[in-house]
């Protein structure tokens, strides 16, 4: 029962992935005769954007507008991303709350007061504009909300079903989700943190595991147009910082002793190890951040690069190769979604375990 549900979920995700990747690309590139730049296309897909671009180019493009929220010198400034009329080169100037704003490469700049048009240096960076603090609901932020809502709906309804079944036997959705929860508890938290202390960290570990996993899966669904949230360094950095904060706050005397005055080694070694251990404290969350970001982004880049082959060679004949390899990579990526969520969670648990370990020398 559970296995078959899992299989059907897997296959529907897979089907969506295959059926829409090509579709999105094909529509995107149609009509224009300019030279196809795979690097730009890939980066465009991997990076964040203001608005959900569906199809079309330039003024013909169809996209779902999203709110732009900026913190400028004049205070909070909000307008919809549709105000830029799909312009991404800084030509369209939007006036709002006494400021003039342009969008260049999905970044929003505020023009200096005396400027009427944006000017660029050799590296194509605007010279007469500043970047205001941008709290816009970009497509990644939207996917963030959607994934959080989905998790709440899934797990709260699963939790409710326990109250309904009198004997505490999981039914329906809970029957599918419970093994995953038990997996995090028995395979991640218990062995890494230890029987006596793992309970305190369970909510955090479960939340990051499912939050990362669901966003990894969302990143693979191309109809969401590459909402690559878990492949965005801001997302991975934030979660890594949370792990770092929890590790540091739960560090006991033994943990700090291991960092500043390593027991069991000669004094010169203690002095030598201290800076290394202090660096290690920060390297751990940084490695978490880079690992998740790089793995997910790399997967997307490979799939998009394989698809780009069709447009680089300008022939449909290469399509079977591209589709075949993309399918192969996508299947691997489906496994990677779970593996990366697992690795992030198990390493977080390992760090908590190290921070709370009692001395046993």
């Amino acid at each position: 029962m559970t296995l078959s549900t899992f299989k059907s979920v897997l296959f529907s995700v897979l089907f969506l992935a295959i059926s829409t990747t090509g579709f999105a690309l094909e529509n995107k590139e149609s009509g224009e005769d300019e030279k196809f730049d795979p690097k730009e296309m890939i980066l465009h897909h991997v990076k964040d954007a203001h608005g959900f671009h569906l199809w079309g180019e330039g003024h013909d493009a169809v996209s779902i507008p999203l709110p732009v929220i900026l913190w400028t010198d004049n205070g909070l400034t909000t307008f919809m991303s549709s105000a830029f009329h799909h312009d991404d080169s800084g030509k369209e100037i939007v006036s709002a709350n006494g400021g003039k704003f342009v969008k260049v490469h999905e970044k929003i700049y505020q023009l200096n007061d005396d400027a009427t048009a944006v000017t660029f240096d050799e590296e194509h960076h605007p010279t007469n504009a500043v970047k205001p603090l941008n709290f816009s609901i970009t497509r990644n932020v939207l996917m963030l909300f959607v994934s959080a809502l989905l998790l709440i709906v899934l797990f709260v309804s699963a939790a409710r079903s326990y109250a309904k079944s009198k004997d505490g036997v999981p039914t329906g959705l809970a029957g599918f989700l419970e093994p995953l929860v038990v997996f995090v508890r028995d395979e991640i938290a218990r062995p890494m943190i230890g029987e006596h202390k793992y309970k305190k960290y369970m909510p955090y570990l479960l939340t990051i595991f499912f939050f990362i996993w669901i966003n990894n899966i969302f990143g693979l669904i191309p109809i969401l147009n590459g909402a690559n949230l878990s492949g965005n360094i801001a997302f991975t950095a934030t979660l890594a910082i949370f792990t770092f904060i929890i590790t540091t706050l739960s560090g006991n005397a033994n943990y700090w002793k291991h960092i500043f005055w390593m027991p069991g080694v000669p004094v010169p070694m203690k002095i030598f190890l201290m800076p290394i251990e202090i660096i290690g404290m920060f390297v751990k969350p940084i490695s978490l951040m880079i690992r998740l970001f790089a793995n997910i982004t790399a997967g997307h880049v490979i799939i998009l690069a394989l698809m780009s082959l069709i447009f680089v060679f300008k022939t449909v004949a290469i399509a079977p190769v591209s589709v075949g390899f993309s399918l192969f990579i996508t299947v691997i990526e489906i496994i990677v979604t779970a593996i990366q969520a697992y690795i992030f969670t198990i390493l977080s648990a390992l760090y908590f375990g190290m921070a709370t370990e009692e001395a046993h020398h």
């Binding site: 609901i137 326990y162 809970a174 909510p203 360094i233 801001a234 934030t238």
Partner: protein
């Protein structure tokens, strides 16, 4: 370079969303789910323990039964043995008694026969004595004339009588 520069907006929204998500899920999802799971696990553990206890009890009971059965069997054996012994003894006793009784009866019979014989012999002797006297009377009457003949006859008759 954009790719590896965290955007402040996304960091902000991620932090806010994650904290809210963590709070909501902790309260409304993880607590009930983990609670239900651990309750069930406790239940299973208890059930297993009680099953094990029941099994041990059953084993004890079985052992008891076996012991009782064994004892009963031994008791039956002894009883049978005793009964056999009693039977044999009874038969032997009866035989002995019968033997004694028989030999006693034979003895009595012999004694009776002996006494009967003796009395019969005595009677016979008396009778013979009577007869002898009668005969002697007759002889004496006949033979008194002839003294020699008389004496010879008496002598002969007496000799014959002692032979009996």
């Amino acid at each position: 370079m954009d790719l590896i520069t965290p955007g402040i907006g996304l960091v902000f929204w991620t932090a806010v969303t994650f904290l809210i998500l963590l709070f909501i899920l902790r309260k409304f999802a993880w607590k009930p789910i983990l609670g239900a799971v651990s309750d069930r696990e406790e239940g299973i553990k208890d059930a297993l323990a009680s099953a094990e206890k029941a099994r041990l009890e059953m084993q004890n009971l079985q052992a008891d039964n076996e012991r009782i059965l064994k004892e009963a069997r031994v008791e039956r054996e002894t009883m049978l043995k005793e009964a056999r012994e009693i039977k044999a003894k009874m038969i032997a006793d009866a035989k002995e008694e019968a033997q004694a009784q028989a030999s006693k009866m034979i003895e009595q019979a012999q004694t009776a026969i002996e006494s009967e014989k003796k009395s019969a012999m005595a009677e016979l002797k008396n009778h013979v004595a009577g007869l002898s006297v009668e005969i002697a009377e007759k002889v004496v009457r006949d033979e008194l004339s002839n003294k020699d003949k008389q004496l010879k006859l008496v002598e002969t008759m007496l000799g014959e009588a002692t032979l009996n």
